[in-house]
Amino acid sequence: MTSAERERIAKRALAASTADQTEVIVSASDAALMRFTRGISNQNVAATDRSISVRAIVGGRTGVASTNETSDAAIDAVVARAIALAAFAPSDPMQPTLPSGAPTHGPENAYVDATAQADPFTRAHIADAIVAQAEIADTWGAGYVATSASGVTIANSSGALASFDGTDAQANVKVTADDSSGFAEHYATDVRALDGHEIGRRAVTKARESARPRAVEPGAWTVILEPPAFGELLTYLISHFSAQSYDEGSSFFAGKLGEKFFADGVTIRDDYAHPLAPGMPFDFEAQPKARPTLVERGVVREIVTDSYYAHKLGRANTGHALPAPNAWGPQALNIVVDSGTSSVDDLITQTERGLLVSRFWYIRTVDQKQAIVTGMTRDGTFLIEHGRIVGGVRNLRFNQSIVEALAHAVFASDAHRTGGYGYSLVVPTAKIDGFRFTSTTEF
């Protein structure tokens, strides 16, 4: 669905509404993904869908209704349903006027036609190249190649009208050998950037070099977290920067904005325009996104808001609304961690004894206020001794406060896009002292 078609639907819905305030989100997507494992494609799928979501506000009462039908009758009906729902909600005295928006410009290369037009054989070609690398090494690979194109248009009764189209291309693989495994991934907006040979080769190398893993004792270790590991760990801290979490007291720094929690080298931003991960320049209320520095040289500087929390807390609207209805509050979704100055090799060379972690698995919050999380290493965990990698180790479970980890972190000079669970992340390799492992597993 083109942006012009989405805008026509949005305007039709606004015209049909008698609510005090109305917001319409029209979205459309075409997404395809090929999975492969052990010499077959076990899932190979494509789906096309669209959605019209209407938020109606009547006397401070809010109702939200959505449909994926696009006829004029369906548009009128979904508007009527949203207004009818609003009648049953109590009035919210903090309900602000919807943002009026402002012109925005999507970052370069957010939409790549080659990705939008990728056919099943384009994905199969990349997958085949990955699988071939695994086969050459007498191992097997399981992974996926995905391409998608999506667009969103947001309009409201305050006059905001914003549209964005983007594409995504991703591939990853876990290569499994006799007693070890390795992982590699690549995220891009251009499918032509996915090099199946290179992705497969990286994973094979990790699997090969972590063969015959030895058991090491749990305890406090110096760790070097590669970007997929560090990025996933970080996602469990980001919600603390929501104005809702800060206001309600569940954030680790509630009431302590401006205080230093982390090491000097830690600077974390939310930036939709980073060249490695170009994203939507406005939020789901059509408010232009700011590019806030959440943490500057270890000091917590900023929380992210939407129109509701900007009004409630008397702060600027940073443009981080999620789609209504939203019980989670505003969220930073485009995380960028500033790189350091040392190379990854230097971080390893300067490590007397430590563990290099390729990837984490099943991280969950153990303690909200202290930001303690637990999780497992997987798919390539290595022992470092006297400044060099000496072999693979069996996987370990950690229990670690992310706040304490970042207080003892330095970053390499690299920068990689990684992701997961709705976040886009650009992060470097991280070296952290005193990372707490509590048990091991059998492999």
Partner: protein, 483 residues
């Protein structure tokens, strides 16, 4: 059914273009969610979605295409796309593995419903939540109280090129409440019922059964009391788990590793593989002889209860663990065939736009014979834990660590003072082999999970793990805090 002609057209298009087999699943989905948060209706949402997914089999390889375009042209395009995708699958396959189902069914199924939610006014639904949420503010420490209702209604129409024609109407409902207390450097949360609310198949009667109003004040009081409760100790203790926590333990340490697609490596890069490898079937002592875990996709109130799965296989019952020994897997047609068995109807898709895949269905631990209150007998030094708040397990489902919202110490057979931040950890087979008592049928309950994640693209599944409280000996407790 309005989709009959379109279905026939899709199958004709797919087979004309070269599919050896094809099926199409139309769905019309209606979801309502209401969430009250601190006196405000934060969510009052009604969503509707219609569309279809087509599976096509070409040269032993599958393709799947989904669309919301219900025109003839839309059907033709989606069917052609499914066939093209299947050809792309075949192009990288080193071996054929897919085959058509062997049996066709013509049938209908509808979830038994005592009270249609539509007969309860929206005003009454909102009022229930506002009242319960208000009661949960039991002290000034309660910074956030929430209460919610979810109602799902799904109409499905499945037809296949071997002659299946299955109509189903699935209704699932749920509700819950949560109180979050904030103290000096501490946050404590209590959720009711269980750890996500009460979710089952059925109508408004499921929401009423949760008894939110009757329990809201207690939940708020417990969250507040946890702020000043002592820390759960670290060490080796006997552990008694409440029913909802046993349910989650089954889910994570038996339900997922017994998925045959995972065993075969189909989820290796994401959800992981399994320690329940094929050579362990009929051999592995998974748990103590008390432990019997079964699939029953016909059970009343099961979230996965239906007449047929999304491959068109009839629901039934089967063993996963019988008297402690591994006896089976959750299977699809293709995976079952690969080990010489028949599918046990464990294939589901989140909705029309997702491909059907093996999902944990109604997989439950059968009750024991010990009355709940006697689980505490013979425990000299132990901990009783309820309501999950943290769960993590390695990618072969061996090393696990779970945390609960609340616990009580157990001394000399008696439940004592409240403890906060309880956690426990272990290795799956050793843990289930340490189970020496399971509560009887009086405390066995169909705990539903509305949000189980698996697959790429990620799909959310609704599943039930019925369970009763159970006792485990010599468990590592208190991991995550302290050393």
């Amino acid at each position: 059914m309005e989709f009959e002609e379109l279905g026939a057209r899709a199958l004709d298009t797919a087979t004309t273009r070269g599919a050896h087999y094809a099926d199409i699943r139309f769905e019309r989905v209606r979801n309502e969610r209401i969430e009250v948060r601190n006196g405000i209706v934060a969510t009052l949402a009604d969503s509707a979605s219609s569309g279809y997914g087509i599976r096509a089999l070409v040269d032993g390889a599958w393709g799947f295409a989904a669309s919301a375009d219900l025109t003839n042209e839309g059907i033709d395009a989606a069917a052609a796309r499914a066939v093209a995708i299947a050809r792309a699958s075949a192009s990288i396959a080193r071996r054929p593995f897919g085959a058509p189902p062997e049996r066709a069914y013509v049938d209908r199924f509808a979830t038994p419903v005592a009270t249609d939610p539509a007969t309860i006014s929206l005003g009454d639904r909102v009022a229930l939540l506002l009242e319960a949420e208000k009661l949960a503010h039991a002290s000034p420490h309660i910074a956030v109280a929430r209460a919610w209702i979810d109602l799902w209604l799904t109409d499905k129409f499945f037809v296949s090129s071997i002659g299946s024609k299955i109509e189903q109407q699935i209704r699932q409902s749920g509700s819950g409440l949560q109180a979050m207390a904030v103290g000096d450097g501490d946050v404590q949360t209590r959720t009711f019922p269980g750890d996500v609310g009460l979710y089952q198949s059925g109508g408004w009667e499921i929401v009423e059964a949760a008894r939110l109003r009757e329990n809201a004040a207690r939940i708020g009081e417990e969250a507040t009391a946890l702020l000043s409760a002592p820390q759960c100790p670290s060490g080796t203790y006997d552990v008694i788990l409440g029913g909802s926590q046993v349910s989650l333990q089954i889910h994570e340490s038996c339900g997922h590793p017994a998925e045959l697609d995972r065993v075969l490596g189909w989820e290796a890069n994401f959800s992981g593989t399994s320690f329940l490898e094929l050579d362990q079937l009929d051999a592995l002592r998974y748990g103590s002889p008390l432990v019997t875990i079964v699939i029953d996709n016909t059970m009343p109130h099961g979230m996965a209860t239906c007449g047929y799965d999304d491959e068109g296989t009839r629901s039934g019952t089967s063993d996963i663990v019988r008297d402690g020994v591994l006896r089976g897997y959750e299977m699809s047609n293709d995976t079952a065939r690969s080990i010489g068995r028949e599918s046990n109807a464990c294939v589901r898709a989140q909705s029309w736009e997702y491909v059907p895949m093996i999902r944990m269905c109604n997989l439950s631990l059968l009750p024991g014979t010990t009355p709940f209150e006697h689980l505490f007998d013979d425990v000299r030094d132990g901990v009783y834990m309820e309501s999950n708040r943290s769960w993590s397990i390695d990618d072969r489902r061996l090393n696990f660590q779970f945390g609960c919202e609340i616990a009580w110490e157990v001394k000399n057979g008696k439940r004592g003072r409240m403890l906060k931040n309880p956690t426990y950890a272990g290795m799956t087979p050793a843990f289930w082999n340490s189970c020496d008592a399971i509560a009887d049928a009086d405390s066995w309950f169909a705990w539903g999970t509305p949000n189980c994640g698996k697959g790429e693209p990620m799909q959310t599944g609704r599943t039930t793990q019925a369970a009763a409280p159970a006792r485990f000996r010599n468990v590592s407790v208190g991991v995550g805090y302290g050393d």
